[in-house]
């Protein structure tokens, strides 16, 4: 069992390395939010002025709230619609199923630039125009394929015998879904939700085309600010978001077990 110990130790070390890699730019981003120079110039000079001026920056704050609201709504809609669709694709066979599965790829494959421009024109022609509602429409559409792909991947590991067994015991379709299938695919659903949130919250291109002054999202504001004159207020708001998300996530982990333990 020595090798197992060694391997496990190596494994943990590896995860540590990976986390270092993942967080290196984030730590820098946070550090630079406390640095005086607006150009990431070293030497490092401590300041909290960027956080202070952030509170005055109504535009950035409004955009942040918009992003959060849209991301939350997008996640909820995507998780419900996406899980339902995945279940259908998993359970049933019908003509055109392959086609429907293939249809999930254009939204991911086509550069968001094209999709964004296409939405801009189409929404304009149809009367939806631009603004937060249009952005929501776009975000859900972009995130749905991710949820479906992820939940489907999880469903692939599901043993259909479990559903059969439950059915033979007299459960109806709804009960089977709720009591047997759903708990199993819950990690997939949650993962899909996390994806959907990330896709929506960090979505830039489509939001850019569909936003109007006063109805923008955070990535759009950041992009505009970078072109105009970068200030580390952007770092400040990004750092705040990461810290808050981390706190929320760790709190959720405390109370919900979603690792799919049997």
């Amino acid at each position: 069992m020595m090798t197992t110990r060694v391997l496990e130790g190596l494994g943990r070390f590896y995860i540590g390395l990976l986390l270092t890699f993942l967080y290196l730019p984030i730590i820098i981003m946070a550090l630079m939010s406390l640095n005086v120079s607006p150009f990431y110039q070293l030497p490092f000079e401590w300041t909290t002025e960027w956080y202070a001026s952030l509170w005055q920056n109504d535009q950035l704050i409004a955009a942040t709230w918009n992003s959060l609201e849209i991301a939350v709504i997008t996640t909820i809609i995507c998780v419900v619609l996406g899980s339902a669709a995945s279940l259908a694709l998993y359970r049933y066979d019908f003509r055109g199923k392959k086609f429907l599965q293939a249809l999930l790829f254009p939204p991911i494959a086509i550069p968001w630039l094209i999709t964004g421009t296409a939405m801009l024109i189409f929404f304009f022609g149809v009367g939806i125009g631009r603004g937060l509602f249009a952005i929501l429409l776009g975000h859900v559409a972009l995130a749905l394929p991710y949820v479906i792909v992820v939940v489907s991947a999880r469903l692939q590991t599901f043993a259909p015998e479990l559903e059969e067994a439950a059915r033979s015991l007299g459960a109806n379709q709804w009960q089977v879904t709720m009591r047997v299938t759903l708990p199993w695919i819950m990690p997939g659903v949650i993962a899909g939700g996390l994806f959907a949130f990330a896709v929506s919250f960090d979505q830039f291109v489509v939001s850019y085309f569909l936003s109007t002054p006063g109805q923008t999202t955070l990535p759009v504001e950041i992009y505009a600010a970078i072109r105009k004159g970068f200030t580390p207020e952007i770092n400040a708001v990004s750092t705040i978001i990461i810290v808050v998300s981390m706190a929320l996530m760790l709190l959720t982990a405390r109370f919900f077990k979603f690792g799919g333990e049997k």
Partner: protein
């Protein structure tokens, strides 16, 4: 062991579950994209007030100018490299998460891996500039540790683009692989070991095949967007940062040639779909 759902009543039962999602996709994506397909066959947009006509010229341009093919190949190569790195880096991490870590620490680390997703992409890229440039974090750190002086300037180069993209997309791979790895019953692994199989054999014959769906899903979610990406290549790639995605962007931002931009994108879509169609049975057979 195929874990497919059993054939049941078919479309009529599936419809209520499928309809909301696909209706939304139709309204927000497929209809607009159809309009774009329409545009890709025009000489000019009706919007521009200029006379327009139908033409195959935009698609023909792809074949007549070697520029586009060269860039498409470069982008495909970029996609492949990034996906491969994500597999190499992400799969072991997912395995450790799924099999080695347990309980609270597993969940906490899992969330920590996902968290960088939620940081803003643009700011992340700028932060990489600080790490990779000459006089940046990497350069300074290495010089402090190594006995001899070296000059690391990775910024504005192909490696920088790879690093930036891998950093952005590896959580996808970790996540999807985790989902399928975690579903593998430990008793299967124990059974294999007790029958005398070595760790490597268990890995090859049991674990990898069972987690294949996760790998394939992750690869698809990474390969596809990377091929069309333009932000990371532009910012991190410097003068070598021209890829298929940036060329398409130019058609919308530098000139008013949406028909060409649309045609180029649909060619990209077709190529990607072909690759996925060819690759997935191959991978499934390997399972």
């Amino acid at each position: 062991m195929a874990a497919q759902g059993t054939s049941r009543s078919g479309l009529s039962s599936a419809l209520p579950l499928l309809a909301p999602a696909y209706l939304w996709l139709t309204a927000a994506i497929f209809l607009p994209l159809s309009a774009m397909v329409f545009f890709s066959f025009m000489t000019d947009l009706p919007l521009s007030g200029k006379p327009w006509a139908f033409t195959l010229g935009n698609y023909a341009a792809f074949f007549s100018q070697s520029l586009y093919l060269t860039l498409l190949l470069a982008s495909l190569r970029l996609g492949l490299e990034v996906t491969l790195w994500c597999v190499i880096i992400g799969y072991p991490a997912a395995y450790v998460l799924a099999k080695v870590l347990k309980g609270r620490s597993r969940e906490a680390i899992f969330l920590l891996v996902i968290l960088p997703f939620w940081s803003n992409g643009l700011v992340r890229i700028f932060s990489w500039a600080m790490v990779l440039r000459e006089g940046g974090i990497l350069d300074t750190a290495l010089n402090a540790v190594l006995p001899f002086k070296i000059n690391i300037d990775l910024m504005y180069s192909y490696p920088a683009v790879i690093i930036g993209l891998v950093h952005s997309y590896v959580p996808y791979m970790v996540l999807t692989c985790y989902l399928t790895l975690q579903a593998i019953d430990d008793s299967l692994i124990e059974a294999g070991r007790s029958l005398g199989a070595s760790r490597l054999q268990v890995l090859k014959r049991v674990i990898i095949p069972l987690s294949m769906p996760g790998l394939v899903a992750g690869a698809a979610l990474i390969f596809v967007p990377v091929v069309g990406s333009f932000m990371e290549p532009r910012i991190l790639g410097g003068r070598t940062g021209t890829f298929y995605g940036t060329i398409i962007e130019d058609q919308f931002v530098a000139v008013f040639n949406w028909p060409l931009g649309a045609a180029l994108s649909f060619i990209l879509l077709a190529v990607v779909l072909v690759i996925l169609a060819v690759a997935s049975p191959v991978l499934k057979r390997a399972a």
